[in-house]
């Protein structure tokens, strides 16, 4: 039982990163029906932005809390700038084009950003990331089940991110404009909503959350590398589809579910389909099963909650 609970905690932590990144996929999809495959790279840029802030901009001996805040802001600045430029120059000109065009563009942007960072940090290897929150600081959750400090931060960030985002979309004026744009962009424009601005807002919000995730990922594992966005991006996209793409709570729920399935598969899947190598396969088995019975994903029906 202790083993099961510990693996459950591991799954929730793994899922928290997927969920935070999935929020960006789901929000952009909800508004412009674009699967922004470059979003994984925005997550990666957040990690590198935070690392750059720490290694280049911060004087040594900066208090940890202040350093973390500044790293978060640095990461966000890089992620958001990249997302805004990407939207303006890669996606906006293709707004009226057939759907396949922006999709291919997204893949191109993704490769471009990866190579850009690879040239900026010319190393084949992962780069060490400062361990400001000690990973061997274990918090006992009772019954011998533990979680370390950076992981706890990741989970809290995911939940706070989801709650803040859905509150914003539900209650704020901009949020309601986002909902309107999602439901019917033409009518929204007729009602005086600047839809271009709303779309940029969705990219900015998604990029900010991805930057949070990039930072917490760096803190958790102590490395960042230019390829980190590719795998996490695919997983997060899967989580968004699992939860019902376009649905904010669904993205985080999908993330948690995917993380838990992967972890449980590592522990309990029968041989020869066991072990971490098969965890991804089990994740997709669950995705297919969910889509068979609920084609719109777990929470995909509540179209009103789209943003």
């Amino acid at each position: 039982m202790q083993l099961f609970m510990q693996q459950l905690v591991n799954g929730v932590v793994l899922g928290a990163t997927y969920g935070l990144v999935a929020l960006g996929y789901t929000m952009v999809y909800g508004i412009v029906q674009l699967i922004n495959f470059a979003h994984g790279e925005i997550f990666m840029l957040g990690g590198f932005g935070a690392l750059f802030t720490y290694t280049v901009l911060l004087p040594s001996g900066t208090p940890v809390v202040l350093a973390l805040i500044l790293m978060l802001l640095g990461g966000m600045a890089v992620s958001v700038t990249a997302a805004v430029i990407m939207e303006r120059f890669a996606y906006r000109p293709l707004r009226g084009a057939p759907r396949l065009a922006p999709l291919i563009t997204a893949l191109g942007v993704s490769i471009f950003l990866q190579e850009l960072v690879r040239n900026f940090y010319p190393a084949k290897s992962p780069r060490p990331f400062p361990q400001l929150i000690p990973p061997d600081y274990l918090i006992n959750l009772g019954g011998g089940v533990t979680i370390n400090a950076p992981k706890l931060v990741t989970v809290i960030a995911a939940v706070v991110g989801m709650v803040a985002l859905s509150t914003f979309v539900r209650s704020s004026r901009t949020g309601r404009a986002m909902q309107a744009t999602a439901q019917d962009p033409d009518t929204a424009r007729l009602m005086g909503i600047d839809t271009d601005r709303i779309i940029v807002t969705a990219f900015v919000l998604g990029a900010s959350l991805a930057a949070v995730s990039g930072l917490s990922n760096g803190l958790q594992f102590g490395t960042v590398d230019p390829r980190m966005g590719a795998l996490t991006g695919v997983k997060a996209f899967t989580a968004a589809v699992l939860g019902g793409i376009g649905n904010i709570s669904g993205a985080v729920l999908g993330g948690f579910l995917l993380g838990i399935v992967e972890v449980m598969a590592t522990q309990y899947a029968p041989s020869p389909l066991s072990g971490g190598a098969w965890a991804n396969a089990w994740g997709f088995v669950v995705l297919i099963l969910v889509l068979v019975f609920r084609p719109n994903g777990l929470l995909g029906e509540r179209v009103a909650a789209r943003a």
Partner: protein, 405 residues
Amino acid sequence: MHSSRIVRIGAPLIIVGALALSSCSSKSEGSGGGNKTLTIGVVAPLSGDLSAVGNGIKNGVDLAIKQANAAKTVKGVTLVLDAQDDTAKADVGATVAAKLVAESSVVGVVGPLNSSVAKSVAPVMASANLAIISPSNSGVDLTGRGALATGATQTRPYKSYFRVCATDDIQGPFAADYAVKDLKVKKVAIVHDKKAYGQGLAEAFAKQAAADGATVLKTETINPGDKDFSALVTKLKSESPDFLFYGGEYPEASLITKQMKSAGLNIPLMGGDGVDAADYIKIAGAQANGDYATALGAPTDKLASAAQFLTDYKAQNYKDPADPYGAAAYDSANAIIKALAKAYGEGKTGQALRDEITKEVGDSNFQGATGAISFDQFGDTNNKVLTVYKVTKGAFVPVKTDSFK
């Protein structure tokens, strides 16, 4: 070097390098005083990321040639060096190999550094039966050893290819012997990344560890590129092993050891030369201490037999260090020189000389800087030296060097 590295270098540089080298060799030709001039070739990366290692090889050969000329080892012959830059690329390697083969004065070649380059160089050499000895190739297929893992019969693919270093496939058994016999571990967990290198290494380790009497837990696998290994770590912890062997490379290995120790599972991780990297320690930090990695060959300054070589190497004031493969290159060149001395003494010339040298290299038996030099029927060295390194105070420190039997 189990993996090939890509070195970016423009074609103009290669041409400039080749011109510079050819002018060198033509200058030294007349110096024999009526003697016949014969050439020993080198194929190694002399520019780019790996140039320091490649130049160490070139210098090792240069030293052997200078000593042979001074001692008149080959009567009536002045030896010269023709070093070709393969830029660590297979296609460039094939081109410079063809150039060496076409030059009739070339009687033997030392190199290349990378196994991937050797795959395109060795067939060219074999076509002219020109002896080539690599100081560093560890890829199993170059001597047909790959067949052994599947239980098939080993056949030699390149008849004139030899190497003086150990191969990838014996790292696993060597590591297992060290873990079980020297460290006395009882219950071993095995993890690999499913790639050819990692899986092969882990399976060989598991087999030997079980044969040595340790309990081997069911093999776990991961995906290269993964970062969160907490599920794996939790599972391992529940099985309470006292040792972990990882088949794969350092980016994942460093995260596994860190997450394992953070979660309170304080057992050493051991890996192959894919883990033996400075970045392993940089990423894992203090938690890398106590971990192990094996590597092919031996640190030259720890070898009693290499003391004279190191003194002589230093006396030449070469720009690049002898390590890691200078001593092995020196031995390789000496194997060719000894074979040449015999073959030339029998009055052989032209293709007959090359044929005879290849045959004589196969029969080599002498004490070199890296130990005894002799080859089996497939071109592999009989002296398979490996070293175990332990992470101590943030650095890989050699703890045991031994020949694998």
